[in-house]
């Protein structure tokens, strides 16, 4: 059992963790540790062999492994960053002791001056949404199937139904088609897709794959191996409309029914936001507990990896400053709240003093709408107002607020989305 000390320990070697490690070094951390549970760095990007990553950060369209490769090379070239792969963190204590384990080193105890949580997220399962029916083989979360197809070289089926039209579901519909499978349909409970518009077009429309909006899978058939599903239309309250059922044959059902930030290690140390399921953070991505930072999908599920990395940059930099004793203690804190029309907003609070110059807010709309006005205000004091031609829950709204505009007071800042003339809900 070894015992080691680091300035900054980063839990998770995906896009958030890698960016955090690099930025922590740039900000002066002497020794940084990255702990990755998988056999290699890169996180879920390694199985995302489609392109479209890095448009914001690198101004090119990269594949997932290419995008992560740029970070992995830098991390591995930096002698100040230690990487442990194939290593699982068993416990994090609030004194910043971390217990981890791997086959080479055995059980390892480390202490860090600052910790960055970057564990990403996991997929919701069939059980969480209570799909009735039998329990045969052939039901996979889209991400698990993606790993098998893209990294291991096996396919999960040849006749496929996808439930859920989030980005992963859309991309897997295309991927399985390219592997020669017949994708019978993508079925979506909501009246709209939660995926990026470009993915609806490039993954479904371009391949003629039907998308059944306001529908769900109401029954799974097949005892040993799935033989088909019953699909049914749902009403506004998402209840099945009797008589609308139809059957689709399949040997595989892929579930893309939502992602949940993976906070099993952080739960109990830091406060979690009930809506994002991630820790509440300030503009430095500092959590509610001193010296613990968080970045990426562990905070809130992003649509674009570029923003994940950006959040990693922020968390890593301020974790390094904290470790060096250079992050001043907060003198004042203001809450940021999701108001009308907005479901979530990150960060959930802003602290003084600030050294970031501007605060970038990430927001998700409650429902799809056209011609809306986004308003960020502290009481009567409007900080930012912006007209949006369209707002969709699947596409994060990103707005920078210059820090000097934010009044140094305790009045909470609220974010709202309201229809302007001729606008409103899209459906």
């Amino acid at each position: 059992m070894s015992s080691l000390k680091f300035d900054v320990a980063v839990i998770g070697g995906g896009p958030a963790g890698l960016a955090a490690a690099l930025s922590a070094r740039t900000a002066g951390a002497k020794d940084v540790l990255v702990i990755e549970r998988d056999r290699e760095l890169g996180g879920i990007l390694q199985q995302c062999i489609h392109n479209g990553f890095g448009l914001h950060r690198f101004h090119e369209e990269l594949t997932g492994p290419t995008y992560s490769g740029r970070f992995i090379r830098q991390v591995k070239a930096d002698a100040g960053i230690t990487v442990w792969e194939d290593t699982l963190v068993l416990e994090v204590r609030n004194d910043k002791t971390i217990w981890a384990i791997n086959p080479q080193q055995g059980l390892i105890g480390i202490t860090a001056k600052a910790v960055v949580f970057a564990m990403g997220c996991r997929e919701r399962t069939r059980g969480a949404i209570r799909i009735p029916g039998l329990r045969p083989a052939g039901i996979f979360t889209a991400g698990a199937a993606q790993r098998m197809v893209n990294m291991e070289g096996y396919i999960t089926g040849k006749k496929i139904v996808v439930l859920g039209s989030g980005d992963i579901g859309l991309i897997m519909a295309r991927r399985m088609t390219l592997e020669g499978a017949k994708v019978q349909a993508v079925v979506e409970l909501l009246p709209y897709s939660n995926g990026l518009t470009r993915n609806v077009v490039q993954c479904l429309e371009d391949f003629g794959i039907p998308l059944h909006l306001s529908h769900t899978v109401s029954f799974i058939h097949g005892k040993d191996k799935i033989t088909g599903v019953t699909v049914a239309a749902v009403d506004q309250d998402r209840n099945i409309i009797p008589g609308t059922e139809f059957e689709l044959d399949c040997d595989c059902l892929l579930l893309s029914v939502g992602l949940i930030p993976e906070n099993e290690l952080s739960r109990g140390i830091v406060d979690l936001d009930g809506l994002t399921s991630g820790p509440t953070v300030n503009q430095y991505r500092q959590t509610s507990y001193d010296g613990f930072f968080a970045a990426g999908n562990v905070v809130h599920v992003h649509d674009l990896v570029d923003f994940v990395s950006e959040e990693g940059d922020i968390a890593g930099k301020f974790a390094a400053l904290y470790a060096q004793g250079k992050l001043p203690t907060a003198t004042n804190v203001v809450a940021v709240k999701a108001g009308q029309g907005i479901r979530t907003v990150v960060p959930q609070r802003i602290s003084w003093p600030d050294s970031s110059g501007k605060v970038r807010l990430f927001m998700r709309a409650q429902e799809p709408a056209v011609r809306v006005k986004l308003k960020i205000a502290a009481g009567e004091d409007v900080l930012v107002e912006r007209q949006l031609p369209i707002a969709r829950p699947g596409e994060m709204i990103v707005v920078d607020v210059p820090f000097d505009k934010i009044p140094d007071c305790t009045q909470e800042i609220s974010v709202t989305l309201q229809a302007v003339q001729g606008g409103g809900l899209r459906e």
Partner: protein, 492 residues
Amino acid sequence: MSAESTDVVIIGGGIVGSAIARELSRYQLAVILLEAETDVAMGTSKANSAILHAGFDAKPGTWKGKLNVRGNHLYHQLWQDLSLDVDWMGSLVVAKDDAEQATIEELLARGNQNGVPNLEILSADQLLEREPNLATDVTGALWAPSAGVVCPFGAVFGFIENAIRNGVTLLRECPVQGIVIDNGRVVGVVTPHGVIRARFIINAAGIQADAVARMAGDNSFTIHPRKGEYILFDKTVRQLVNTVIFPTPSKVSKGILVSPTVHGNLFIGPDAEDVADKDDVSTTAAGMERVINGARRIVPQLPLAAAITEFSGLRAASGDGDFILRESETAKGLIHAAGIQSPGFTAAPAIAEVIADILREAGLALIEKAEFNPVNPPRRVFREMSWQERAEIVARDPLFGRVICRCETVTEGEIVATIHSPCGAVTVDGVKRRTRAGTGRCQGGFCGPRVTAIISRELGIPVTAVRKDGIHSFLFSDKLPGVCEVSTDEQP
């Protein structure tokens, strides 16, 4: 295998067949247990409430009345010997009005008659002090401290592995296709591997026990499948109740309960619905609704968002409601252990004693063997180890340093060990039921492919031959020529 000959063939690898196999392994006998599926514990023993009932429910004088209390008593001795997961947390039967209050008084009297130890009626105040999350309109409860919860498939593995260690042969994927009768007496069973000659056949085929009886020309009973649905919750909501909570029972069912599991989850269920099809273990929207509404009567605040899986099981109900434990009148040498519905799981070790007695009376000499070892070696469960033990085991076996299932902290070392145990796992769900890999909140989303790779490597079969659970439940097909990267022989 066609020339196989044995003293006793047991048909069915559920809790009853396994407990009988283990009981018979005490004696100088050749015993073969036949299981039609890929693994033991695949039928009723897989999907049930996993309660070791105290024994106040059954009518005095019935098999159920006699064997429930005896079985519960035996488990209090057996659980450590067999290395079973049991928590003796006790049970409550909750009443909500005068009529129900009268019923729990009746249960108290019946329980005392059956010999259930330390039963007690609690007042509403006493009850709410112990269980603050119950509905506030409860009027009282029957407290039975001798009840417990068990890992149901774990118990089957405990019995069968001990039986195998003591000389019993287990044949899986070996369905019985016929029974050979000579002169009114059974002489063997027909299987896909040929005829196995046997002097005695024990029918512990669960939901299929009537079909097995018919193969021997015995039409004396029928098994009616009665389905029950369950919802299982994440460990984060375990603290909602402290013990097994039953509603006051109706004539047909013990009702929908709210109970912790032995591994720290929480479940609600079952409902009771007669079904025609013995393969119908589907969950239904209506069934889940019934279960949720029933459970809300007792515990109003149910954290539905924390549900991680749903399943249903079939009770093997017989016509007259009691266990059928007797030699067939039509086919001598065929002994029925049938109609085993609740409290069959609890009664199983006592049923095994009764079956041994029936065999003895039917003329089989039961001579104890000196080398019988009643004890299973303790399992090495990483999750339950101290930090010191963890450090030591990884130092000895590096595979215990690789965590395959994050939700339940299951290591590669445990998975490899369970594949190579006496009744080793051969499927992904077989690994799950033995180690808990894949039972957590991600339900195998992360670890499923890795468990597949380990099974492929350890059993020396291609990834495409690895099955989820049932005989035809293959998971993957080939995409490209090549080998699964994680399934290479590479050792740390």
